[in-house]
């Protein structure tokens, strides 16, 4: 059986370390992961008229992030599927609906790593902690500055 899990990301390569840790510790289990980027919907009517999650994701996806995903996919054959989704509501109901709609079974959060906060983003980690599903916090040591977190080298991490 494939297990559906959820991991919040900020489109920095460093945030994929959570996924790497999960895959490393569940080598027998097939996993399908939904990477969630949390941000409020735009207030602008124009933006809402032409709202397209694909465009928003595409705009944020960096080459290095894509490469990192490919590396993980090539490394772990247990990784069945990777989906990137946007998460727009900072409230419990929205979260519960989102989780049940995507048939999420487990949530994995970074423990010490702080997701990068951009213009309209909000801290989804605290919200996901309140969910009724099993929540696991993954910890890794990393002392990188902000630009380094976006580089591919953030994935090459000794302490894992």
């Amino acid at each position: 059986m494939t297990k559906n899990i959820l991991i919040p990301i900020d489109f920095c390569v460093a945030s994929l370390n959570t996924l790497k840790l999960v895959l490393e510790s569940n080598k027998a289990q097939k996993i399908s992961v939904i990477l969630v980027h949390a941000e409020y919907l735009s207030d602008s009517e124009m933006d809402l008229l032409f709202y397209s999650p694909y465009n928003i994701i595409d705009k944020n996806l960096t080459v290095e992030f894509k490469e990192a995903l490919e590396i993980l996919k090539n490394r772990y054959s247990t990784l069945e599927g990777i989906f990137i989704k946007l998460f727009h509501g900072n409230n419990l109901n929205y979260m519960q609906n989102f989780l049940s709609a995507n048939k999420i079974e487990e949530i994995y959060l970074p423990k010490t790593y702080q997701l990068k906060q951009a213009k309209r983003t909000f801290n989804s980690v605290t919200l996901f902690k309140r969910s009724s599903l099993p929540v696991f916090e993954m910890d890794w040591e990393q002392h990188l500055n902000e630009t380094e977190q976006e580089h591919l080298s953030a994935l090459f991490n000794r302490s894992l």
Binding site: E24, K66, I71, N74, R75, H151, L152, S153, L160
Partner: protein, 456 residues
């Protein structure tokens, strides 16, 4: 053809086509309308003539004639014909005597009605049988409007089209020159730039955004060329300096040894010194030779299918032999499951040299501290990352790192000639790969190499 003329001709042709089409359409439709209108007028006269001649008995002909003459405008050269067709007369005969078009008469006989035009004269007619006799009634007139007004209109249109063509041609050439003027100015300026005046730059203050971008790109290109020029110049001075140092040492040593009679041990010692320097010289020339060889786009270099991780392990084995105290650890936590995702098209010897250089550097500049090598692969390339915890490279010097004989300002304590990294870069370039160096002073350096996968 010059783009300028091309653009001008395109714009000109486009405008001219529109104007010509417009003029032609006006003339054509007005002409058609005037013909239709004129036939209607002829037909009115025809029906009056029919009534007048064929029902002459029952009408007060004088009165009717007067009435019509008063109220109907007389057309230019208006003429009415009433022809009784006698059995002996052929159509040809009628056509000849009255100068009617023959086709007109034929349709008249067949359908009983007809219209025709001969030059500027218009005909309308009908044929009727009355009391056993066959009559042809024809009204003809000249179309004054068509002959005068339309010709006048045609002339106006022709002249104005010609004028418009002239104006359009003038303006399209003028504007295209105006548009391309900055380009020709740039060209003039670029022509002034030669090897001696490579520090000249183009003026970036142009109103047009595209031109500004072009100028900027040009300037960036010039900057790059200038840097590589400097590197070339530096290369020669550096190379001669590097070669001269051991030579001077050899000459000096030999000179001193030959000054006076020396003991056996002293000769041995100085010969030993000369040998060391000569070996160093040999090493430098060898690596220079390699650098030159890899610098040319490989003609005789053989490429085969190579497993990247194998090459790295071999390189590590070699470093282990040269420098047993090294701490190189190869991290395979991200290595792909499929071995095919590690295979690249490469020359094994060259790649071996490149990795040995990188690993050797990493150990050397970190005083045998921990060096970690990561191997991973995306869907189309293998990524190798070599991280050390060494002295790092000062930020402004990173861009010169891959130039021959360049040595970072903080590398003086370590032995080296500054040939290893340029050689590595050449090798990676030969394999269509990328090399990215990132570094933090006193914290460490990370070199990332991306090589394209061998895809079947």
């Amino acid at each position: 053809m010059k783009t300028q003329t091309k653009a001008a001709i395109l714009i000109g042709l486009f405008c001219i086509t529109i104007v010509v089409l417009f003029g032609f359409a006006i003339y054509f439709f007005l002409n058609k309308y005037s013909f239709g209108d004129f036939y209607k007028r002829l037909e009115t006269r025809l029906s009056i003539a029919e009534k007048f001649y064929l029902e002459r008995d029952s009408l007060n002909t004088e009165k009717v004639r007067q009435l019509f003459d008063q109220h109907l405008e007389k057309l230019d050269k208006e003429q009415e014909y009433v022809i009784e067709l006698k059995s002996g007369v052929s159509i040809q005969g009628v056509s000849n005597t009255h100068d009617f078009p023959k086709l007109f008469l034929e349709t008249l006989m067949q359908t009983g009605k007809g219209q025709a035009r001969k030059g500027n004269t218009f005909y309308a007619g009908l044929s009727e049988n009355i009391k056993g006799k066959r009559y042809l009634i024809v009204v003809s007139a000249e179309n004054y409007y068509a002959s005068h007004h339309l010709i006048f209109l045609r002339n106006i249109i022709l002249i104005s089209v010609l004028l418009v063509i002239l104006i359009v041609l003038f303006f399209s050439f003028y504007f295209s020159r105006q548009i391309f003027f900055p380009l020709s100015r740039i060209m003039d300026k670029v022509k002034q730039i030669s090897t001696e005046s490579i520090n000249l730059r183009l003026d970036e203050n142009n109103r047009s955004v595209e031109i500004r971008k072009l100028v900027k790109t040009f300037n960036e290109l010039l900057s790059r060329i200038e840097t590589s020029f400097e590197t070339q110049n530096n290369f020669i001075s550096n190379a001669s300096h590097e070669l001269r140092t051991p030579l001077t040492a050899i000459i000096g040593e030999a000179d001193v040894a030959l000054l006076k009679q020396r003991s056996h041990e002293e000769y041995q010692k100085s010969l030993q010194n000369i040998l060391t320097q000569a070996e160093r010289l040999d090493e430098i020339t060898n690596s220079l030779f390699f650098l030159a060889q890899t610098g040319y786009k490989g003609k005789s270099i053989l490429f085969e299918r190579v497993r990247t991780d194998e090459v790295i392990f071999e390189a590590k084995a070699l470093i282990d032999r040269i420098n047993p105290r090294n701490k190189i650890s190869i991290d395979l936590s991200l290595i792909p499951d499929e071995p095919s995702k590690l295979k690249i098209k490469a020359n094994k010897q060259l790649l071996h040299i490149a990795f040995c250089n990188l690993l050797g550097n990493a150990c050397k500049y970190s005083n045998n501290n921990l060096v970690t090598v990561y191997v991973a692969s995306t869907d189309n390339q293998v990524i190798i990352s070599i991280k050390d915890q060494g002295i790092g490279i000062p930020e402004p010097e990173i861009s010169y790192l891959l130039d021959p004989f360049f040595r970072a300002s903080n590398a003086n304590l370590f032995e080296g000639y500054g040939i290893g990294l340029p050689l590595t870069k050449n090798i990676i370039n030969l394999h269509n790969g990328q090399i990215i160096v990132k570094s933090q002073l006193n914290k460490g350096t990370s070199v990332q190499i991306k090589l394209p996968l061998y895809l079947d």
